[in-house]
């Protein structure tokens, strides 16, 4: 029936985009029933005692063990853990389910960058009603400020991705390159490495919205300012300009490998030394261990290169929250699970299985900090990650339509990676296209 998958997928994408727009419009115009009645801790406990079943849509791999332990602790509760797709696929499915009014899960994993979109679309329960405010201080500032969006708390941080520099020590030693501490040194190292071995690149990049926004974040940029439905986009502010300046140099001199992140070629490059560094979130070790087992012992971790020498600024890259869709059948039980998995006993189980926590208690524990990573030659990498989590630059926010904005990143900024078009022009085009979409969705975009 479906012989030409590409064409079908294209049509399908259009059709689902139409649904999404309709759903957002419908939600935006529905301002009634916005007051959530408070749910006390007793009521949540009562739901646990009574039992029942909840459906959780998540793709995070360590939730499986947390679910098993949760069910063992509360035998009357059945958790149906469903991988409804990764990232965008799941968001589309979630929006379709909300639009259709059936099949909405009790709990959904939503990445930080996507959370404002769902929160503003009024698809999610404000967890303030459950007393989520008392969890203040439980989570590191980056993730906690990410879930506090649009005047409420719309999710609980499940994991985080404070960034660090992962580098292939073997390659660095071979070419006698110092580990860069600033982005200028990073660019110099890129040049030196590529000159010494034309097949080797300092890193790969074909245009990645998450990476770009994270670097702008670290540089102190605040390109997205959101106040209710008033949105300001400025991808030419000081932080964005710093990023564009450095990255333009790397692109113009062809010093980054034209390999897409997460592709098989990427894993190959990480293994054979042709991609020598990654500046990426602290969840990366699990991917390296399974995806590039042969490079065990060659890689090390260092703090993120800085925009100002001697500074210690960091940013978050990726990471997800668990949220409760409004239309989910069992909100009280859902919250019980949310708390267990993100702030309760579930955290340790997940961390033991390779997740990177967003809770301050875990990030400060001696056991966590003292863990020696065989993959990194016995290095205590968590010390660097935890420091990075504490150094995340405050005040960042994503657009309330970031999912869409990121989806057009490659059509706009991506041009700068494959043509001679300057990066700043690409950022401008991204800004204009995002602003236009925002206006079409009923936002006031300045």
């Amino acid at each position: 029936m479906f012989t030409n998958r590409r064409a079908f997928l294209r049509t399908a994408a259009l059709a689902t985009a139409a649904i999404t727009t309709a759903a957002l419009a419908a939600c935006g115009s529905d301002d009634s029933g916005d007051t959530t009645t408070p749910v006390s801790a007793d009521q949540v406990q009562a739901a646990l005692d009574k039992g029942g079943s909840i459906t959780v849509w998540a793709w995070e791999p360590t939730l499986k063990q947390a679910v098993a332990a949760f069910e063992a602790k509360y035998p009357k509760v059945k958790v149906n853990l469903v991988n409804a797709g990764t990232g965008n696929d799941q968001y589309t499915a979630l929006q379709n389910a909300v639009a259709a009014g059936s099949g909405v899960p009790d709990v959904a994993q939503i990445e930080y960058y996507a959370l404002p979109q769902f929160a503003l679309g009024k698809s999610l329960t404000d967890l303030t009603a459950f007393g989520a405010g008392e969890l203040d201080g439980t989570f590191t500032p980056g993730p906690w400020s990410s879930v506090k969006t649009g005047g409420g708390t719309f999710g609980l941080p499940m994991d985080s991705g404070p960034m660090a520099l992962f580098y292939n020590k073997e390659v660095f030693d071979k070419h006698k390159i110092e580990v860069p501490t600033t982005w200028d040194e990073y660019a110099a190292a890129a040049k030196k490495l590529h000159a010494a071995d034309p097949k080797a690149y300092i890193t790969n990049d074909t245009g990645d919205a998450g990476f770009t926004t994270s670097l702008i974040w670290q540089a102190g940029g605040k390109p997205f300012a959101v106040d209710g439905t008033n949105v300001k986009i400025n991808l030419a502010d000081e932080g964005s300009a710093k990023f564009a300046g450095t990255w333009q140099k790397l692109l113009s001199d062809k010093l980054v490998a034209p390999v897409g992140s997460w592709s098989d070629g990427w894993y190959k490059g990480l293994g054979d030394g042709s991609i020598a560094t990654l500046v990426i979130g602290a969840w990366m070790p699990a991917n390296l261990e399974s995806g590039v087992p042969g490079a065990k012992g060659k890689w090390r971790v260092a703090p993120m290169p800085q925009w100002t020498a001697g500074a210690s600024a960091a940013a978050e890259n990726g990471g997800s929250s668990l949220a409760i869709p409004k239309a989910g059948p069992n909100n009280a039980l859902a919250y019980a699970f949310l708390k267990y998995a993100t702030a309760g006993e579930g955290v340790k189980i997940r961390v033991d299985n390779g997740a990177f926590p967003a809770t301050t208690a875990e990030l400060k524990s001696a056991e966590f900090l003292g863990k020696e990573f065989g993959y990194f030659g016995g290095q205590k990498a968590n010390e660097i990650f935890a420091k990075s989590a504490a150094d995340v630059v405050p005040g960042w926010s994503y657009l309330p339509f970031q999912v869409y904005a990121n989806s057009i990143f490659n059509d706009t900024v991506g041009q700068a990676y494959v043509t001679d078009k300057p990066l700043t022009d690409g950022l401008k085009a991204w800004q204009d296209a995002s602003a236009k979409y925002g206006k079409d969705q009923g936002f006031t975009v300045g």
Binding site: A12, V82, A97, G161, D264, A286, G291, F356
Partner: protein, 291 residues
């Protein structure tokens, strides 16, 4: 009868270097992906990235990979395989049965509105399935059938192309005189269809069965939007989910299992083709030749 055929064959065996070269190219073009798949299914996750793509790695891990594929995540691959079989048997089997019955009826019976049905069927052949996928999803969601096997099986039952094929095939394969003779001899309509027409229609049925089988076996988009529960995934969705793991923060990259799984996935289809090939050839020829 024999002499004209022999002369025809003699004509065909005249060599054309250009055609031979083109055919050889097509052969390589079709076989290389298959060869790649077989070779790489024998490599470990590590070997995939460190060895040449079109030749074997030192470490021959095919059996270990097959074992790991079948047992990974509590043997979920086997579950997906059984799901796919279920969808193929009920979906493609049902589609073939419906197409056969409908095609026969349209070819051999006169009834009011037949022209209308013809227009609808031809129109339906032209509409791509994906254009209907989202409306179908919303409809099934109203019926409460999404996330159940029925959401995949019921839409698979409809094959406008199969119906059209059976229609034209039945029109040429069953002589009207034969039906009249059967009726004169007192056979009921059902008996006539089962005992007399079915054997004549066999090549057509096998053709439609193969088409719908391939379509259902490879069906990706419909289950993608209908199913959320991995327990009901067909192989196509399951392998994609495995592949996505590598692109997940903190996920486990299992490219070697994805490749081995893909190899295992196409084996049943290959077997079905080899087994039913002779029927298919005669079916295509019978459909194409007009007396």
């Amino acid at each position: 009868m024999t002499s004209p055929r022999r002369s025809l064959r003699a004509k065909q065996t005249r060599r054309s270097p250009l055609l031979t070269a083109l055919t050889a190219l097509m052969l390589i073009y079709s076989l290389v992906p298959l060869v790649w798949l077989v070779i790489n299914a024998s490599k470990t996750q590590e070997g995939l990235f460190t060895s040449f793509g079109l030749w074997f790695d030192g470490d021959f891990a095919l059996l270990r990979n097959i074992h790991d594929t079948l047992t990974y995540d509590n043997g979920v691959f086997v579950r997906w395989l059984l799901n796919t079989l279920l969808y193929v048997v009920l979906g493609a089997g049902g589609a073939t049965a419906l197409a056969t019955l409908g095609g026969y009826a349209l070819a051999k019976f006169d009834f009011p509105g037949k022209r209308g049905v013809f227009a609808v069927v031809i129109g339906a052949v032209a509409v791509p399935g994906t254009a209907l996928a989202v409306p179908t999803f919303l409809m099934f969601s109203k019926l409460g059938l999404t996330n159940t096997p029925w959401a995949v099986i019921i839409p698979s039952l409809i094959s406008p192309f199969g119906l059209y094929l059976m229609w034209t095939f039945a029109a040429s394969a069953i002589p009207g005189e034969l039906l009249e003779a059967a009726r004169v001899d007192g056979a009921g309509e059902l008996r006539t269809f089962v005992r007399i027409c079915m054997p004549l229609l066999a090549p057509g049925i096998v053709t439609v069965a193969l088409f719908t089988m391939v379509a259902t076996w490879n069906n990706y988009f419909l289950p993608l939007i209908m199913l959320k529960d991995p327990d009901w995934y067909p192989l196509t969705l399951g392998l994609n989910a495995w592949n996505d793991q590598a692109a997940t923060a903190g996920g486990q990259a299992i490219f070697h299992l994805v490749i081995t799984g893909s190899l295992l996935t196409i084996l049943p289809l290959l077997a079905a083709f080899l087994f039913l090939q002779r029927y298919w050839q005669s079916g295509l020829a019978a459909g194409g030749v007009k007396d």
